[in-house]
Amino acid sequence: MATPEAVAEKRELAGINADYKEKFGFHDPESGYAYKAPKGLSREVVESISEYKDEPQWMRDFRLKALDHFYSRPTPAWGGNLGQIDFDDIHYFVRASEKNSRDWSEVPDDIKNTFDRLGIPEAERKFLSGVGAQYESEVVYHQVNEKLEAQGVIFTDMDTALREHEDLVREYWATIIPPNDNKLAALNSAVWSGGSFVYVPAGVKVEMPLQAYFRINTENMGQFERTLIIAEEGSDVHYIEGCTAPVYSTDSLHSAVVEIVAKPSSRVRYTTVQNWSQNVFNLVTKRAVAHEKATMEWVDCNLGSKLTMKYPSIYLLGPEAHGEILSIAFAGEGQHQDAGGKIIHAAPRTSSSIFSKSISKDGGRATYRGLLEVADGATESRSKVVCDALLLDEDSRSDTYPTIRIDENDADVGHEATVSKIGDEQIFYLQSHGLDEEEASKMIVNGFIEPVTKELPMEYAVELNRLIELQMEGSIG
């Protein structure tokens, strides 16, 4: 018999689960919006975005060239079904507010209330070094700890960075992900707006994380933020991003580009808790370079969206650089999480690991897609890839596409993959210890993802566990 606490927890889970819509899936009126581009993509739309932002000529040229790349490339036929996306049925630029503020009280009421409901100002007060809040196409709030600012740390939105630090932006812009890298990177390069710019000077350690929160409000919206992080020699920074959107019956598109440069002996950790509503296509290109003795870590949690295609990558370009990718994907009904990671060892004595965990339920599909490459000359390099998939029922699906290329004899590479299903024996064993079926199932799932959650700051680990419990509700047939 279930304990009163378990019954209450069950009720609470049922309540939360019924309501992505209420908790995250609500939307605000658009009456106060400053500008909303008509649906569809064209040269005129791209030029108007650039003109609206009063950009330098080189950026306008960059956008238009990227648009040509987008038009000239075929839609990828691998991964998920991208043929479902109607690129003409999307608003490519929506400005909700004329102002990017450093004071929450100056943010328009509807937008501020939204971020209040999502807990962003509270998180800033409690445990963050800086916050950026993007609503639709642009950042409406940005703040960074004054002490960090005094140390030369720059944490601002990308539009502001282009205006105030143009030379710095231009030096690194698209050097990690060129506009012609792939079709979606080309699209982002043509219509990008918002995102974060982070610059950490040599030797500066940013003790508490910087966070950006991305919110889509409009129906048929395209959000195309662009983030660039530069960690100078010996610096240290942790950047966290989260995202949600309203529940609509029609589709939206999120296609970001994230570029990271980790200079010698620096450390960058980039954590994502992706929880888009299930009408959002999430097609993101993320890539980092790690120079000598630098450490780059991606912690990538994909819970929401209709289809995610995202494979954060790390190029280990300097000797003794280290890269880690922790990927977790949860695919529920109607969802396809096509996630994974790529690591390229291009220098001696580099080391890396990829740990991927996926959970599929209610007919959801989780795919691990990864690349591990050891280049000729990357002697004494070491890497380990582990992919574990957990299927919660007969209708769900898990696929693994690991690619390993080794062009160096003096390297140590390991790969392990498991697919498991929650079995009646496991449930029965835990029930014999007093747990009911749902508690037993949750415990198994929590144990399965624990290697990922233990890497998150406490607040995010709690949130991730809660979200997964929310997704787990009703999973026992």
Binding site: H69, T175, I176, P178, P179, D181, R287, Y315, L317, A346
Partner: protein, 108 residues
């Protein structure tokens, strides 16, 4: 693998490769792009180090002396063969180009 002496191969009369122009030549099954960067000649193997696709017919910026891989956008410095942007990270082969009797020749 044994070293072999460089072979000199003809490209074309200098007058046929104007500043800002590129010409492809083939030698022993290998394609080579010869570029005129505002009067200075450079030559690289026509093979991107990222995925072995053709490279030399990508966007050529004579002022910056770079060529952009048409497949995934890596920008290569023609003076050194080194990539200036990802996804390529390894250099491509370069060859010495010179002018002999008003004709461009390569050492391969």
């Amino acid at each position: 693998m044994t070293d072999t002496a460089a072979t000199t191969i003809p490209v074309c009369p200098l007058t046929e490769l104007e500043p800002g122009a590129m010409r492809l030549v083939e030698h022993d099954g290998m394609k080579i792009g010869v570029f005129n960067c505002d009067g200075t000649l450079y030559a690289i193997e026509d093979r991107c180090s990222h995925d072995d696709g053709p490279l030399a017919e990508g966007g050529f910026d004579a002022a910056a002396c770079t060529v952009e891989c048409p497949r995934h956008g890596s920008l290569f410095d023609l003076t050194s063969g080194r990539p200036k942007t990802l996804p390529a990270y390894a250099p491509v082969r370069t060859f010495a180009a010179s002018v002999v009797d008003d004709n461009i020749v390569l050492e391969v």
